[in-house]
């Protein structure tokens, strides 16, 4: 009997504490899910407050925050300032990632092959068909390029990764912009679609002479051969934490209302050209003020203490200058 009583009592305590510390709820992009859950876990240990994040995709995250069913929404593609205005939402970048072109060519090691945006666009347009094409050879005079056809791989599912990748190609190639454009799912002229970053990574590692694009973390964890890129300043850069952060630091956030800024093709000698931020959306005047205050406390904590955890998972923390600006935005825009 005592045993049963103890269980009941424990259950009641558990129920009352969880009801007391109202969990923050968020939903949206799947790309930042691993880091948001890691942060939530550490935050719960430290403060006792939980965070429940559902990774349901950026589009669905935007719908959920507009419908006010969650405290915050998350999206890989930022909303335009006029849309933020219309829905009464505040937006800011939370954490970054980067997209890297990956390939599988015998004898070529990570970082050895150099590509520029225009060549990448031509490969994905199907205009460059073989690895020994003069355009690729010109960028890589020292490499021994195979004569084989290029097997183009891309995402089959709608995704923020595709959004940022196609946004980059649109910025560097007028041809791409007019023929394909940018979006979470586009009309691909060539190539096969694989499901998720892991699908693309798997396909690349199994297919000879293939090229694809994945989040940096997947390239690193699957030991895929990545390319170096020529950035908008004309410099060749390797995909590293430093070059990703440089892209965010060199971006002109101050002149981007509502942080509507896509981190591709940013200026700066050291900037990686296909960096990508993922964004948080919250109501400026939320119905549940307590929950939204709690959420801001969590985000502040994540900015201050979450950087190392992010790097462990191959995400890129936002540079300090951007964090300071975001915190100012909270103070001025979000009513608590």
């Amino acid at each position: 009997m005592n045993f049963i009583k103890a269980i009941v009592a424990a259950g009641m305590v558990a129920a009352s504490t969880s009801a007391f510390a109202a969990d923050i709820t968020g939903a949206g992009a799947s790309f930042p899910f691993p880091i948001y859950s890691k942060w939530a876990d550490a935050y719960k240990k430290e403060t006792g407050n939980g965070l429940n994040y559902q990774s349901i995709g950026s589009g669905a995250g935007i719908k959920q925050i507009i419908a006010k069913t969650v405290t915050f929404g998350a999206t890989d593609a930022p909303l335009k300032p006029e849309q933020l205005e219309k829905e009464g939402l505040a937006q800011w970048p939370m954490v970054m990632g980067a997209i890297v072109p990956v390939m599988n060519i015998e004898g070529i090691k990570p970082g050895e092959m150099v590509l520029d945006g225009n060549t990448l666009a031509k490969i994905y347009l199907g205009e460059i068909k073989a690895w020994n094409d003069p355009a690729i050879a010109k960028l890589n005079p020292k490499l021994k390029l195979p004569t084989d056809a290029i097997a183009v791989v891309r995402r089959s599912d709608g995704s923020g990764t595709t959004f940022n990748f196609t946004d980059y190609l649109s910025k560097v190639s007028a041809d791409w912009k007019s023929k394909v454009g940018s979006g979470t799912a586009v009309e691909w002229p060539v190539g096969v679609g694989a499901k998720g970053n892991e699908g693309v990574a798997g396909n690349i590692s199994q297919t000879k002479n293939s090229i694809g694009y994945v989040e940096y973390a997947y390239a690193k964890q699957n030991k895929l051969t990545y390319a170096s890129m020529i950035n908008s300043a004309g410099k060749t850069v390797q995909p590293t934490m430093a070059s990703f952060q440089a892209a965010a630091a060199n971006a002109d956030w101050a002149k981007a209302p509502g942080y509507y800024l896509i981190l591709t093709n940013q200026p700066g000698d050291a900037s990686w050209p296909i960096a990508a931020a993922t964004f948080i959306l919250m109501h400026k005047d939320a119905t549940d003020k307590a929950a939204s205050t709690e959420a801001l406390k969590f985000f502040k904590w994540a900015f201050e203490k979450g950087g190392k955890m992010a790097e462990e998972l191959d995400y890129v923390p936002m540079p300090d200058s951007v964090v300071k600006q975001v915190e100012k935005t909270w103070a001025s825009e979000i009513k608590s």
Partner: protein
């Protein structure tokens, strides 16, 4: 009837006419309740179905307004265009082609297994094969998808596809159907996975209906000197035709709508090429791939695709019913 039932129980009968009427009305009430309860269950199916169609229609309305009938004849899928250009021809083509190839493989193999199991198989082998078939049906579709992606796809792309491409190179029509380059993610690979997935449906139902053939019919046929092949062809199959076709239709319904496994290995390409070794997409795979990140007209277009799949499946099942009815009428004459 109820009257007699009451009369036979001595206890009730002894209690007098008043109680008898009461018991009768209680029976009547029970009957009525049962009748209405079952009727409500049956009608609820129609209501749910109607609700699904209605909500699909409402969701698809913006796309119907925007594209109209051109949705059915356009072979482009460009959701990022401004304005978007969406057409269902690619997914419809992919759905039909993968289902067709899957059935071409699964029907002979499935019937073959069923005939072997019921007519030829030694007793000790029946249980292992029967269990294996049931296990095939029990494997979750995502497992099929992963196996297709990591094992079957690479095998086909490295060994089977190059051989077929070389074999048919230069042959008119066939050369186009089996055209390269080999691919891990293709219509053919998805079809093969589908064939394996629908096999248990065809086999299990065929085994069950083959068992209903009266032994005396088969024995008589054997008695006049028929071979096993002749017995199967002239006695077993004609006797069970309706049931076998029912099983095949069930399998076809599954093949048309299968989502997860196909999404993994079809490559989600909306272009229509003649080659079955090129990537393609099916209606359900397209929806599963793009729905989460879609909005506006794009999402509405995906819902319209769903509505089309609904109609397509309905048409297939209706055609199957018609076929069965005609067969039954023929048999009746």
């Amino acid at each position: 009837m109820a009257d007699m039932a009451v009369d036979t129980t001595g206890l009730q009968a002894a209690a007098g006419p008043f109680d008898r009427a009461k018991a009768l009305s209680a029976f009547k009430l029970g009957d009525k309740t049962f009748y209405w309860a079952t009727r409500a269950c049956a009608i609820s199916v129609l209501l749910i179905l109607g609700g699904i169609i209605l909500s699909l229609f409402v969701g698809a309305w913006p796309a119907i307004q925007e594209f109209g009938l051109s949705f059915l004849t356009t072979a482009r899928w460009a959701p990022a265009n401004d304005p978007p250009v969406l057409g269902a021809l690619g997914p419809i083509y992919g759905t039909l082609v993968t289902s067709l190839i899957a059935m071409m493989i699964a029907i002979p193999v499935g019937l073959g297994i069923a005939i072997f199991l019921t007519e030829l198989c030694p007793m000790w082998l029946r249980r292992p094969i029967g269990l294996a078939i049931e296990l095939l049906a029990g494997i979750p579709s995502i497992i099929y998808g992963m196996w297709g992606f990591f094992v079957l796809g690479p095998f086909l792309a490295n060994h089977f596809q190059p051989a077929m491409i070389a074999l048919f190179e230069g042959v008119p029509v066939l050369g186009d159907i089996f055209a390269g380059p080999p691919s891990y993610l293709s219509l053919f690979n998805a079809s093969l996975i589908l064939a394996i997935m629908v096999l248990p449906f065809i086999t299990a139902i065929s085994v069950d209906v083959f068992k209903t053939v009266p032994p005396v019919l088969k024995e008589a046929a054997y008695g006049v000197g028929c071979t096993t092949w002749e017995v199967v062809r002239s006695v077993v199959i004609p006797y069970t035709r309706v049931g076998v076709i029912g099983g095949i239709m069930l399998a076809l319904g599954r093949a048309l709508g299968e989502t997860m496994a196909v999404t993994f290995i079809i490559g989600n390409s909306f272009r229509i090429t003649g080659s079955i070794f090129s990537p393609g997409t099916t209606i359900s795979a397209a929806i599963a791939s793009e729905f989460a990140e879609s909005d506006g007209l794009h999402q509405s277009g995906l819902i319209l695709l769903g509505l089309l799949l609904f109609i397509l499946t309905f048409m297939v099942l209706a055609a199957a019913r018609l076929l069965l009815m005609r067969l039954e009428m023929k048999a009746g004459k």
